[in-house]
Symmetry: C2
Subunit: 302 residues, 2 copies
């Protein structure tokens, strides 16, 4: 393997990931921490970045390309937005340099949908899209998470996208409502049947979402059932609700490109299978790293 | 006014209300406190009740009729459930006496829907229904709250009912998600236009609920807008979602009976007006007191 050419950083709200890359796009070293935007805003973005670069013995002049919330207004340097319809290649052209640093640091912009009837923003997912689809990609893409994003991409252009608060609703509903009693002390056992039937129910009757959630509690009261099944029902209800909107108007035959990893990847694959929707699955870590590598190649002519 | 004949108590999860009543059903005195089931389970139900009876100088042998969560398994004495289809008059026949007390105390049962496909429970709302409709009533009834209840009543029989976690979702979403930033420092000013347009949007596209909620944040980021408008949008989205399911399959001409009071009454009246649904509005405090009075008359042959 050749020497490090640059560092690629995915800097989210609550997580930080850094990869030390060679010119061919191979990973030489990796760092992961919880020093996301929230933590870094207090500790200092430059200091957090430098500590991770030191940990992988990066050269003093190694350039760094960053995507995600580090480019938000509350982040390190505001990197603005490309407006929809947004060509993914435009992201590569509009990286914002961080001034006053000894090394060359660039932050990629996000994408904004300035439609008063459907305002939306993304930061980080545009780089996943670029990595997953390339600059000429075409797909309906589902990127699950705290704030799940669905994007319609044609000819490398993000035409529309939609954010669903699915992950955050799951946390809030599980922790801050009466359903906290239903899921208390749940172990890690996965109740696939409970999950799938909840996905189907919410997909078929999305208007009933606030009732289907209550049924997690009332069903336990009247018919019993453990906390793990309750957790899967909450998760399935919220994912089924998201899929009902995300898939609306789309042919299940053409399918969806899922960009996810780990537990979320498993859950969404199971949900799509329940609804007989064809899925092309791409690892989200690979996608964002690939997108950052494309940006590095363009910016520094690697 | 004649002498007190009994005390009527609506004992909810987080609130306690007591009315001192004469035989004609007039209110002689009223008590309200936050000593609901949760607080009373610690302080002792008998002690809490006695303190309020003392405060209104109730006679030692004054009987007491109670509805609500005091009859839950975690309450004072479990009062069980009448199963659907449940005739409202059956509630009056199935009051459970609290043993070991110097006075005659009865707790009314709740209603359970033991349908595995739509399990549901109510405690307290059955007494509101009885008071609002009488023992032979017929209506589609909406009872908003932390856990909103919709009941289909025909000939005095609760055929089906459905609970929506609308109020609790509003609290959880406003306090425990990114939307807490959008509503921070909201004053009491009511943005009726924001509320109504959110009701319409969620009613028209209930599957998009988790996106409409995110738009509260993204709309503020891209187009500005204050925290009061953000709060009304969250409220309107969740109420519009509830109405989409509650009104499904019902003719808007036949209308809905709304049993509510205060701010919730105003919000739901506004939501129904937005959707051009005819509403008969009944004060929920009057309804529950009237239901308890009917129970007292039956139990003690007043």
């Amino acid at each position: 393997m050749s020497q490090a050419a640059y560092a690629a950083v995915d800097w989210g709200t609550s997580s930080f990931r850094l990869w030390l890359m060679n010119p061919a796009g191979d990973v030489l070293a990796e760092r992961r921490s919880a020093e996301g935007m929230m933590a870094a805003a207090k500790a200092g973005f430059a200091a957090v970045l430098q500590s991770h670069l030191d940990a992988v013995s990066a050269a003093e002049n190694l350039p760094v390309v960053i995507c995600g919330m580090a480019g938000a207004r509350q982040g390190w340097v505001e990197a603005g937005y490309i407006d929809t319809p947004a060509h993914l290649a435009a992201i590569l052209q509009r990286a914002v340099p961080v001034s006053g640093q000894s090394r060359d640091i660039r932050i990629l912009p996000g994408i904004a949908q300035r439609d008063p009837a459907a305002p939306d923003v993304m930061r980080g997912e545009e780089t996943q899209l670029l990595g997953a689809l390339g600059a000429e990609g075409e797909a309906l893409v589902c990127m699950p998470g705290t704030h799940s994003k669905w994007a319609q991409v044609r000819g490398g252009t993000v035409e529309r996208f939609t954010t669903f608060m699915t992950g955050e609703l799951f946390s809030a509903v599980s922790q801050a409502t009466i359903l906290s009693l239903a899921v208390a002390n749940a172990d890690e056992a996965v109740d696939t049947a409970a999950f799938k039937s909840a996905v189907s129910a919410a997909f078929a009757a999305p208007a009933s979402a606030a009732n289907l959630l209550f049924q997690v509690r009332s069903g336990q009261l009247l018919f019993g059932g453990g906390p793990a099944a309750a957790r899967e029902k909450i998760s399935g209800t919220l994912i089924g609700l998201e899929l009902a909107a995300g898939l609306a108007g789309h042919s299940s035959v053409r399918g969806v490109t899922l960009v996810a990893s780990g537990r979320l990847q498993e859950l969404y694959l199971s949900a799509f299978a329940t609804l007989s929707v064809a899925v092309q699955s791409i690892d989200s870590d690979d996608a964002v790293r690939c997108g950052l590598a494309l940006a590095a190649k363009t910016i520094w002519k690697l």
